[in-house]
């Protein structure tokens, strides 16, 4: 038995052993491994001892590549932009508990009666308002008291709108308010709505609103009179 068989090859001794023990490699910080030094000394030692072993060279090559890979992964990681700083955490103070204190208040029965006077006046107005529920729709003068010219023209405008409605509802007999005023300016939309109220008062169109989507539906023609859904 020759001693050379028992003797470990040089590369299984430190520092080169690191290149042959992968599990150790994973525990080290790649930046602490000087590959150039390890490889130069590995080659020099191999030449010196004359133990030329291609398998060992292959393993060394593999390990070096792995270490490079680890280093470049770390580099890439470093290049990732740092996470944006989250909004600074708002300091939420604890609740301020109010100490219990008795406090005389300044409200007297006189104050109560002063305001009662106001409230009862309001009640009276409400009652008056109730007895004059007719007509349901406001008179034109209530809406546009100052626009005399517009009022004079109102009949003509109504006819115009009615004609346009008949044209647009065609077979269906119904049209949404939003469709009718599509693309119109705000003031135009308001005018159209008021004209619709007049037409409804005359019973020529029916109006009803879907409470959920707030759409107003306009029904035109005979069919309205038949379907009792008209809602002024």
């Amino acid at each position: 038995m020759s001693s050379t068989i028992i003797k470990k090859p040089f590369y299984l001794r430190p520092p080169w052993n690191i290149l042959f023990e992968f599990h150790k490699l994973e525990k080290l910080t790649p930046w602490n491994i000087n590959i150039a030094y390890l490889l130069t000394t590995f080659l020099r030692e191999m030449e010196k001892t004359g133990q030329i072993d291609f398998r060992a060279s292959g393993v060394v090559l593999d390990s070096s590549a792995l270490i490079y890979l680890m280093k470049s992964k770390l580099l890439l990681k470093l290049e990732e932009p740092p996470p944006p700083p989250g909004p600074p955490k708002e300091f939420l103070p604890p609740p301020l508990f109010l100490p219990l204190r008795h406090e005389l208040t300044s409200t007297t029965i006189k104050h109560l009666l002063e305001v009662l006077d106001d409230v009862l006046k309001g009640e009276k107005i409400l009652r008056l308002g109730k007895t004059t529920t007719e007509p349901v729709l406001p008179t034109p003068s209530e809406i546009f008291p100052q626009l005399d010219i517009y009022l004079m023209e109102i009949e003509r405008q109504m006819e115009k709108l009615y004609a346009s409605l008949l044209e647009r509802v065609k077979g269906t007999g119904i049209i949404e308010f939003s469709t009718l005023i599509k693309g119109a300016e705000r003031i135009e939309a308001i005018r159209t709505f008021i004209l619709l109220l007049f037409l409804a008062q005359d019973g020529r169109v029916g109006l009803w609103q879907d409470e959920e989507i707030e759409e107003i539906y306009i029904t035109v023609g005979v069919s309205i009179a038949e379907n009792g859904k008209i809602n002024n």
Partner: protein, 197 residues
């Protein structure tokens, strides 16, 4: 030895009594209104009216003994109140500047008082949608109580309301009182307006 024990027991009893008196005082102080024996009993965690009454009397005496600006009075129907002695009122009145309620809720309260028993629906109709919030506040403050009647809630003022404004606890009498004061007040207003006008 026996004497010592008795002393300790007496001492403990005395401490308990002191605590109960303080609790009674706390109740009367924060309530700022007359409290019944039942209400006081519920704070003291006892059902014995006699016990509450004894304690209340003790506290009354204690207050009477020290030369305090405050007094505890027994009212009729066995209610107790902690209040400022009347002679001090003029001297400290200028420190009282916080209204019981702001204008909105006060209006709603006045309406309920005048029209009671009145449905919540009616109150909201007259006072507007804000009245929901006012009614909630008035209930929380113990000025108004509600009673379910079918779908609607019927509103009334409470005894606390009557105590606060010095009105009768009986609703009919109270409404009469309110009406009378109101009429007097309106007359005065009219006279005032006539004078100014």
């Amino acid at each position: 030895m026996q004497k010592m024990e008795r002393l300790t027991i007496n001492h403990l009893q005395e401490e308990k009594r002191q605590r109960e008196l303080a609790l009674l005082e706390a109740a009367l102080y924060v309530a700022g209104r007359p409290l019944t024996l039942k209400q006081l009993g519920s704070i003291l965690k006892t059902r014995s009216k006699k016990k509450v009454k004894n304690l209340a009397k003790m506290l009354m005496e204690e207050y009477a003994k020290r030369k305090s600006a405050l007094e505890i009075l027994e009212l009729k129907d066995e209610r107790y109140v902690l209040q400022l002695k009347a002679d001090f009122t003029p001297r400290v009145r200028k420190l009282v500047n916080r209204p019981l309620l702001s204008a909105g809720p006060l209006k709603t309260l006045s309406y309920i008082a005048y029209r009671q028993p009145v449905s919540q629906r009616k109150v909201v109709e007259v006072r507007g949608h804000h009245a929901y919030g006012h009614i909630k506040l008035l209930k929380e403050m113990g000025l108004v109580a509600s009673e379910k009647k079918g779908r609607s809630a019927i509103l009334k003022t409470t005894e606390y309301f009557a105590d606060y404004f010095g009105l009768s606890h009986d609703t009919t009498t109270m409404k009469r009182e309110l009406k009378r004061v109101f009429e007097d007040f309106s007359k005065k207003e009219i006279n005032q307006a006539a004078k100014n006008g």
